[in-house]
Symmetry: C2
Subunit: 263 residues, 2 copies
């Protein structure tokens, strides 16, 4: 990924880790992780100074560029768009900024679990994973065209082509009740662990231990099952856009997990 | 779950949501979510006052009670034990507390994605999920027995019975290099969405729309694949504790996702 442009390193986003370097800063890697995770966690400081705990909520979203709406190029600067049930706290804060910053400071974490790494010792047990942490300032999207574009992208991030297979356009009431937050990302990093367990030399020389201790990787991924129709559904067959999506995402995720094990 | 004891409601942990009430505060529900999620995200305020972004890292862990080490009862107060690569920032802060609080204020988010909810309109698309958010003060575990107990529970949370199928006990060097954080939970809530899409009455009366728009749920879960042996592995067969775990967790997760769709 050296040929992709990257986020500038910042102390808060620098990945420190003994052994293999696992930090990645290039746009392509970070944006790919975010755009393939179905749900992530968003954290932000609480407005109540007496409350020491950051707020956290699960949300969904995608990274894109409204100034180049048709582009799927992930290897360049993009904004993060968030959607979900937006707490009144978040909306209040995210609407116009806090006076100091342009928007609400948000930290976003997106993690794929790719496998369980089983070693000779508990200490060397690990996970294969792809994780991205992003920091940026969030503001509510008020431009009608940008909001519609973001809602289309978010719906199609859940199931490819779903937007155009539903009742369109959204009503005025729906557009008012739905909020989208745009995050201008200021720093970000990804961390990736792949491959087999790495045990200490002493344990690897212990023939008795190795004769009885299985080592390897259990690949894991998010599996999409057979679609289950609602009792209210009137369409006989599961439509192609749903079937194709389920097949494609299962192949992609299972393949990624197995490839990670074998790296 | 009304017969289980519960976390006291606090403004920070009160789940507000239009429509169906989705918040849950009972110990059993919250602790079950945490103890079945393979990885969660931990957020904490940064020590640098000029840095507005909460820190966030993926970690693993479990909820348990060292004063009742053999108990598996989740319907009572438990502590959260965290493990993973612990950044120097977190360890520095979590070691002894910040002088005001007994430990570092941590927010922990654990989310299961159970399904994609496909409705007639983009607006009613949703996820089935089980999510828990916990707030508590984290300190490093220094008691040797408690630390050993926590490492055994954490290893067995990755794969049931894995601990006793590895080289034991950990060496002194391993115990020193490994840190466990105990979180005394002060507030927590879970949020659960299950079932089929709920569309607006106007759309449900639109026969043309319903004739062409499939509605229902795509169940999703974390799938554990066939274990892949390391090139360094010398054990011929995948051992029973790994095989049994993969089978059990797949049945549990797939079953939960399908049950959620049909609720």
């Amino acid at each position: 990924m050296a040929d992709s442009e990257a986020y500038a390193k910042h102390p808060r986003s620098t990945v420190n880790r003994y052994g293999k370097p696992r930090g990645r800063y290039d746009y392509q890697t970070i944006h790919s992780v975010v755009n393939t995770v179905p749900v992530f966690h968003v954290s932000f400081p609480t407005p109540d100074e007496d409350d020491p705990f950051p707020a956290m909520i699960p949300m969904l979203g995608f990274m894109g560029d409204f100034s180049a709406p048709g582009s799927d190029d992930l290897a360049r600067p993009l904004d993060l768009y968030l959607h979900g049930y937006i707490s009144s706290r978040l909306m209040k804060l995210g609407g116009t900024g806090d006076g100091v910053h342009e928007g609400l400071p948000l930290t976003i974490a997106a993690t794929h679990l790719d496998g369980l790494v089983l070693a000779l010792t508990p200490n060397h047990h690990s996970y294969n994973y792809r994780s991205a942490i992003l920091h940026g300032f969030g503001t509510a999207v008020t431009d009608a065209d940008e909001k519609m574009w973001a809602l289309e992208k978010i719906t199609n991030a859940v199931v490819t082509d779903r937007w155009q297979n539903t009742r369109l356009p959204p009503t005025k009431a729906e557009m008012i009740s739905t909020q989208v937050i745009k995050v201008s990302v200021v720093s970000a990093s990804a961390k990736i662990r792949a491959g087999m367990p790495g045990d200490d030399r002493n344990d690897m020389k212990n023939d008795e231990l190795r004769a009885k201790t299985w080592i390897g990787v259990v690949p894991t991924w998010t599996q999409y099952g057979q679609p289950i129709a609602s009792p209210e559904n009137r369409v006989k067959e599961v439509p192609a856009h749903v079937r194709d999506f389920v097949k494609a995402v299962n192949e992609r995720e299972e393949g990624t997990a197995k490839d990670a094990a074998l790296q």
